[in-house]
């Protein structure tokens, strides 16, 4: 009777807990969505940065022309005169997702424009990512850890930075796909169900469609499988989780046009094939071990080893010869630069020049994951008590993502979910221990007879786990050792309570060594709980501040606070609008590759190079043109049919990311292909300057002239607010270009190529005709014709 009453109350508690968790998860989704809306509130609902403009243009095309046109689209308005095969070089996941959402909304008669859908895709998918984190952490540790991890991920600044409203980039959906794929993998590993294995492959397919970072998944999962095999955790569930994923996943990855046959030919995938073979060998070994007697098994192993090692050596030798014959050993440049961080700076300046590919600084760790940075080690320790397949996966995920985040600052984004999972586990463990000690005290206060209660515990921790337990609370609790002993006692007391913060598979243990119960003072645990809540509050405060101040800048609109209020710099859109309305539809615009996507999307003009940076020689051509004197630059641009040249100049207002600051990269990239451009020519004593001490090559190059033409007219002295000195050459005229537009704050300057002169006058006729005798100009100075 009492048993059923206990069961009734526990099922009621279950139901209540379930409803509460659903409600909490809904709130977490709302938080994740709302915290990313700061830029919409502060500025407007606009697409940010550079890459999202390309995705937005592709989504516009998809929504207007349908999916078949999208797959076959050859874009001739970029990379003139080469063009770009969009269908085959873009990761379609993001655009297809947004296009589907737009179509769905419009079919339900909700009139959302494509831009609105694009702007708000990232916040919606961040809510989904938080829910996926809940599911994943629930598989690893339990529902309580899941909810904590989801709440942390909803707000972590690193993820916010790439998924604010308006940041319409691949990572917006890719991180959700990543976490969801990992969740399905762990679910398959825990249950051994082929159904989840199928879902896992489909989720992996969505990930391949979305982001080039899918290679992380297809290398992490084999690493984990290998780890399980090596640590003796091989089971048939592992086989079911891994083998179908490899076959189905490779096929699905080959379906995406961007990946195509790379799915079987590049080194990034070889790891999965190798582990595929290894797991089959291991499965066979276990099977034979099961059906043979031990003695015969030993005989079998010696036989197989002698023969097998010889065969293996031959196969490995062939493989090595094949792989070594390709210069990069089969890896792509970007992946190689991840493994060897110095590779890109030596061989591929384009990859090295992107600011997102630089290694992060130490403070950026604290800025991006804040409190999690020291909750993570506690989480790692908690994962070892007890170690299961799922928790070993979480640890491996964290370790590899920490390494990669150290190589490239952009990959801090991959670290964020791992850190959230670990800290969720750590926080939930801490709360579990502390609340249990509080409950123990309260029950002790109300009941007298607790010492003779049967020692039926719910956990399976053994005595040896006491040592690692001591390290667990090192982050914020004061009394460490008492907490440890307290936990063992309180675990015994929880036989009647169905914990929502259950953190290990429940295995009834019949006999347990009786330990003397050591009691943690009630005050200490209450204070610790309070401190943990304060910690969480500080974290939330930091996340909201980071989202509002640091990561919500759309970078296409700039603001500054001056003494007379808010000043808005909308120069970029002003320039693109001018181009759109004052030039012919077929005019070609040349600029540095940063602005290519924005120019094609907003100004709707053909560009020479854009952010895709797939053709290094073409970019080097533009870089050489920018670094050459006017005549040579005119020749280069004329050969490319360019009509307008666009430069970004920040010297008048102090905008630091202008073309003069990026100029050395233009020189380096141009010099990488055209050897007559030498970086040393532009530096005075190794220093880059544009003032009076600059080298004549620097003062004569096109970039300098186009940036500083008529600059001296603004303040009379030509003081550059970014470089903080007066410029070198102040008064000069342009001979081959003419200025057609400069924006309000001089941030974008557009020049037109002057057409070649029809008539050639003066002395230069001699050089043209050769044999005729000269008729020199009477007296005076012969004017040098700039067109020769």
């Amino acid at each position: 009777m009492a048993q059923s009453k206990v069961e009734g109350s526990s099922s009621l508690r279950h139901a209540f807990g379930g409803v509460l968790s659903v409600f909490i998860l809904l709130l977490i989704g709302v938080v994740a969505f709302s915290i990313r809306l700061f830029s919409v509130i502060k500025y407007e609902s606009v697409i940010h940065e550079f890459d999202p403009y390309f995705n937005y243009r592709v989504t516009q095309f998809l929504s207007k022309n349908g999916i078949y046109e999208f797959w076959n689209w050859f874009d001739d308005r970029t990379w003139y005169p080469l063009g770009r095969v969009i269908g085959g070089t873009v990761y379609p996941g993001l655009t297809l997702t947004a296009g589907t959402m737009w179509k769905l909304a419009n079919s339900l008669n909700i009139p959302l424009s494509v831009e609105t859908v694009c702007v708000f895709t990232a916040p919606i998918f961040s809510a989904f990512a938080a829910w996926a984190t809940y599911l994943l952490t629930k598989e690893v540790k339990g529902p309580g850890a899941g909810i904590t991890a989801a709440a942390i991920l909803a707000m972590v600044p690193s993820y916010i930075s790439r998924s604010v409203a308006g940041s319409y980039d691949n990572e917006a959906v890719a991180i959700f796909a990543l976490i969801f794929t990992f969740y399905l993998y762990i679910k398959t590993l825990n249950t051994g169900s082929l159904f989840y294995a199928t879902l896992n492959s489909l989720a992996y397919f969505y990930m391949v469609c979305s982001w080039g970072g899918y290679t992380f998944i297809i290398n992490l999962i084999p690493m984990h499988v290998l780890l399980c095999i090596v640590t003796g955790r091989y089971s048939s569930r592992l086989y079911i989780a891994y083998a179908p994923l490899v076959v189905l996943g490779t096929l699905l990855a080959a379906l995406v046009p961007v990946v195509g046959f790379n799915a079987v030919m590049t080194s990034e995938h070889f790891g999965s094939f190798l582990v595929f073979i290894i797991i089959h060998v291991v499965a066979l070994v276990y099977y034979i071990k099961g059906i043979l007697t031990p003695r015969l098994f030993k005989v079998a192993t010696t036989l197989v080893l002698t023969v097998g090692v010889a065969v293996c050596a031959v196969v490995v030798a062939i493989l090595i010869a094949l792989v070594a014959s390709s210069p990069t050993k089969g890896w792509s440049g970007r992946s190689l630069s991840l493994l060897d961080p110095t590779y890109a700076s030596k061989y591929i300046p384009i990859i090295a020049s992107v600011s997102e590919h630089q290694p992060p600084t130490w403070p950026s760790y604290f800025m991006d994951i804040n409190v999690l940075a020291f909750l993570v080690p506690a989480g790692i320790v908690a994962c070892f008590l007890p170690l299961s397949d799922a928790s070993s996966f979480a640890v491996l995920y964290l370790v590899t993502s920490v390494y990669f985040s150290g190589v490239m600052v952009r990959l801090m984004l991959v670290l964020a979910p791992a850190a959230c999972i670990m800290s969720g586990i750590a926080l939930s463990e801490a709360f579990g221990v502390l609340t249990r000690s509080i409950k123990f005290h309260i029950t002790k206060y109300f009941e007298c007879s607790h010492t003779e209660a049967p020692a039926k515990s719910g956990e399976s921790t053994s005595a040896e786990s006491s040592a690692p337990l001591e390290n667990m609370m090192k982050s914020d609790t004061t009394e460490k050792s008492e907490v440890v002993k307290k936990e063992k006692v309180s675990r015994r007391k929880q036989k009647k309570e169905k914990e929502l913060t259950e953190n290990a598979p429940v295995k009834p243990v019949s006999a347990k060594k009786e330990k003397r119960p050591l009691v943690l003072p009630l005050e200490a645990s209450i204070v610790s709980v309070f401190l943990l809540i304060v910690l969480g509050g500080l974290y939330v405060l930091h996340c909201v501040w980071a989202a509002a101040e640091a990561y919500s800048a759309p970078s296409i609109v700039l603001t500054s606070h001056s003494h007379d209020g808010l000043h808005v710099f909308d120069d970029f859109r002003e320039a693109y609008a001018w181009l759109r309305h004052n030039t012919e539809v077929d005019d070609k615009v040349a600029s540095w590759w940063d602005y290519g996507y924005q120019t094609t999307a907003m100004a709707n003009r053909t560009v020479i190079v854009d952010n895709n940076t797939w053709n290094n020689t073409h970019i080097a051509t533009v870089g050489t043109a920018m670094s050459s004197p006017e005549k040579a630059a005119w020749e280069i641009f004329n050969s490319l049919d360019v009509k307008y040249v666009l430069v970004v100049f920040g010297g008048l207002v102090g905008y630091p990311s202008d073309d003069i600051n990026k100029f050395l990269w233009m020189v380096r990239i141009g010099g990488g292909v055209f050897p007559h451009i030498k970086e040393a020519d532009y530096l005075r004593d190794g220093q880059y300057r544009v003032d009076a001490h600059a080298t004549p090559t620097m003062l004569n190059c096109l970039m300098y002239k186009l940036s500083y033409y008529r600059f001296v007219e603004t303040d009379g002295k030509g003081f550059d607010r970014v470089r903080r000195y007066e410029i070198g050459k102040k008064h000069f005229k342009l001979t081959h270009f003419e200025e057609v537009f400069t924006t309000h704050h001089w941030m974008v300057r557009i020049y037109k190529l002057k057409p070649q002169k029809n008539r050639i006058r003066g002395k230069s006729r001699k050089s043209k005709l050769g044999t005729k005798s000269t008729s020199s100009k009477p007296g005076g100075v012969t004017r040098k014709n700039p067109w020769n």
Partner: protein, 114 residues
């Protein structure tokens, strides 16, 4: 050397005896796996002779064979009564999962076949 061959013979005999004791259903699945792998090997040999021009066709052919072999092995694992981990799983559910996964696999294959 004679001991080596003797041992090998003994090994093969005991393997054969142990394998004969497996139930017929599992033996049928094993036969299916062997058939699928043999088909894959024949395809690879054909490609080695004729050349790999429509590479996607070759890839989809080989991977469909390997895929069905892998899925059949998974089915065998789940249906095998000696496996303690799966004793709660009804064999009908295992077979239904197997059919579903094969459906997805062959859908992808047919799309990729060209």
């Amino acid at each position: 050397m004679a001991k080596g061959t003797n041992d090998a013979q003994l090994l093969i005999q005991s393997l054969r005896k142990a394998y004969a004791a497996t139930p017929t259903t599992l033996k049928i699945i094993d036969l299916y796996v062997v058939y699928a792998v043999a088909t894959a090997l024949i395809q690879v040999a054909y490609m080695a002779i004729v050349g790999s021009f429509p590479f996607n066709s070759f890839l989809s052919g080989v991977l469909s064979c390997v895929g069905t072999a892998v899925l059949a092995v998974c089915l065998r694992i789940q249906v095998n009564k000696d496996n303690k981990e799966f004793k709660d799983l009804p064999p009908e559910r295992a077979f239904a999962d197997f059919v579903l996964c094969n459906l997805v696999l062959h859908l992808v294959i047919m799309n990729f076949l060209g």
